[in-house]
């Protein structure tokens, strides 16, 4: 097994433990950005998580982050902060393509979703190319 592959496997196994050591429990909300055009994770992409105030309908920023080598962004939100409501994940996809010297049809992607049961785990991935994207509710 190559050294690189071994590192990858270690990364998968240690992922949750690493976060436990640093920030307590794993975020109940996770994401994963995949660059389907190039068959690689969407790494170094800026993103932000927002929650909508139900009375004013205004968005408040909860966290900003950048995807890691694997296209993930651990520690998006803590269990305590993860209350029922309307959330938005904003992915700076235009910036991402520009950094790798390409144009894109979408300046950014925003996915708005409803959390009714914060006891569950939610995975909101983004599968992306320069001219398409998709998302689904995972766990």
């Amino acid at each position: 097994m190559s050294a690189q592959r071994l590192q990858q496997l270690k990364g998968h196994l240690l992922h949750d433990n690493k976060m436990s050591a640093m920030a307590g429990p794993v975020s109940p909300l996770s994401t994963h950005v995949l660059n389907t055009a190039m068959g690689v994770p969407g790494s170094n992409m800026s993103l932000s998580l927002h929650r909508q105030d139900p009375s004013t309908e205004a968005w408040s920023l909860i966290t900003t982050g950048t995807t890691n080598e694997d296209g993930r962004c651990p520690g998006l939100i803590s269990k305590q902060m993860f209350v029922p409501g309307v959330y938005k994940m904003r992915f700076e996809t235009g910036q991402y393509w520009e950094t790798i010297g390409e144009s894109s049809f979408y300046p950014y992607v925003e996915i708005v979703f409803i959390i009714k049961d914060p006891g569950q785990r939610y995975h909101v991935p983004l599968l992306l190319s320069r001219f398409s994207y998709s998302t689904y509710r995972g766990s």
Binding site: P107, I111, V112, I114, S132, Y133, S134, T135
Partner: protein
């Protein structure tokens, strides 16, 4: 719908959960005013039996810029007696060459959606 020429921008909404076109879905088209950074609504419409919405914009109005198509997916699922993970879906895109034709479909289920740039 009065426009003689077809709109240079079209859409098509497909309900992959049920394997049918998403008929009677409300949607709206907006353009970003770059001076004020405010979205101006250009048109509202409802998808037909085939999940399409002709006459979105005229050739004259279709200038370069940043546009947004907002699909009232939550309302749609509610009218079918179902819940959905997404209250709505907004697709924001950049038009640099308004001479081309742009097809922005929305392929969706209660728990997923996708879009691509077609022509």
């Amino acid at each position: 719908m009065a426009a003689a020429e077809s709109s240079p921008l079209t859409t098509h909404v497909l309900n992959t959960g049920d394997g049918v076109p998403a008929a009677r879905m409300a949607l709206s088209l907006h353009r970003l005013d770059t001076n004020t950074m405010i979205w101006n609504m250009l048109n509202v419409g409802t998808t037909d039996q085939d999940g399409r919405c002709p006459g979105l914009i005229s050739r004259d109005a279709f200038t370069s810029g940043t546009y947004k198509l907002r699909f009232e997916t939550g309302q749609y699922w509610k009218s079918l007696g179902q819940t959905s993970f997404y209250p709505y879906a907004e697709v924001v895109f950049t038009i640099s060459d308004p001479q081309q034709r742009f097809h922005i479909p929305l392929i969706m289920s209660r728990f997923s959606y996708s879009t691509y740039r077609g022509s």
